[in-house]
Symmetry: C2
Subunit: 237 residues, 2 copies
């Protein structure tokens, strides 16, 4: 047993600080920043209220730690997947489909996996990203994520040399809107499809998203004739 006696208060396997972060992640994802109290968080984490303030100072700082905790790995993986797509292309210019796939791969894989922490973190970002946020909490997200936007935009521009800058920015923004809505996992998709589509079936989502978004990019690049060549003849069934 690696833990010392002081490290664990109950039978839980993680130290206090991590348990608070995990509980906060889950509750913030479910009800947003204002919908959750520190008391609820510490109760779920099985620690005293004062420990949240000892470890994080304030509620806002705790929230900042939650959204910051995984952002660097998240962005690193997004870059790695883009690098892989470009390395696989003969001339280093990855096709639109592979760029779009790279943008989704890590998030979709983590959300589908048994790793509940990552799933909740991605839900938290997706669900709160459309609400106005405080600058102190927005900045630590936008610094690494801004690099993602630049790298993916450059890759898409290379794949679509004819596309106008405004069309590229808007198309990428629309892609983010789609991904965000899927990661948020609302009940709407299941209800609207009468149970035909499951919100958690990200393999199906990806096989539909890639041709949908790629076709959109080609259309906005003035290259609709490329769509059938890239897609193959049949869409997912």
């Amino acid at each position: 047993m690696p833990q010392t006696g002081a490290a664990l208060r109950r039978s839980d396997a993680h130290p206090t600080k991590i348990r608070i972060l995990d509980a906060a992640e889950e509750l913030f994802a479910a009800r947003g920043y204002h919908g959750v109290s520190i008391r609820e968080i510490t109760q779920m984490a099985n620690v005293e209220v004062a420990l949240a303030h000892y470890h994080f100072g304030s509620k806002e700082e705790l929230f900042r730690h939650v959204v910051t905790r995984r952002i660097d790995e998240h962005c690193s993986r997004l870059i790695e997947d883009l690098d892989r797509a470009q390395a696989a292309a003969p001339n280093g210019i990855a096709p639109v489909e592979e760029i779009v796939r790279a943008f989704c791969r890590f998030s979709f894989a983590k959300t589908s996996s048994a790793d509940a922490g990552w799933k909740r973190y991605l839900q938290l970002l997706a669900r709160t990203s459309q609400l106005p946020m405080y600058e102190p909490v927005l900045a630590p997200i936008n610094r690494p994520y801004g690099i993602i936007v630049v790298r993916y935009s450059e890759a898409l521009r290379a794949a679509l040399p004819t596309i106008q800058p405004g069309n590229l920015a808007t198309a990428f923004y629309m892609l983010q809107g789609i991904v965000s809505r899927l990661l948020a996992e609302t009940e709407m998709l299941e209800r609207q499809s009468h149970g035909l589509c499951s919100a958690s079936d990200f393999d199906s989502h990806l096989e539909r998203l890639v041709p949908f978004v790629a076709a959109g990019f080609y259309a906005l690049a003035g290259r609709p004739e490329l769509i059938s060549a890239r897609n193959g003849s049949e869409p997912p069934t």
Copy 2:
């Protein structure tokens, strides 16, 4: 002057109940349900706190009234615009582009207009639609909106007879994600495009969204060859 003496407390033009609803709409749109107190709302409305309880009973009921107030007109207009698109088609089968345009027209027009109330209502729906909501507040939205989903899905199925039901449902869900993100008007688009795209320029949004989404639908219907025929040769610049 139509108002009686008892109707107005200050110089504002609207009766108390409306003023509370307007203030609540604005604040709920900005910070979500839990991020706003009744005190803030009544303060912005220039009325006493007790009047919110007199008119609406509880905070949750007030929120329900805010999201319910405009939903019927909203849905009626969505149906009207779809009807118009279908009436304009020779055989009653509107092309995908016109269906997508009809789905956006009213919301984009209201958000671009001087009508701040409608703009905030649409922001409220867009920003909170990805957070889990109480069933009592979800039901009054989903009843009329469910009809919209059915009608638009039928129209799209008529325009795309080869599309698989799962592809149709997911594609429509992706369309909703795009529209929702645009209506939410985050600062992300302006930042990511380095000021090239304005979040409030819904004319540009529409001219980019329609070919993007229509191409996506055609791709998922296995009919990519239709895209160039419908779009014309050049995308928006």
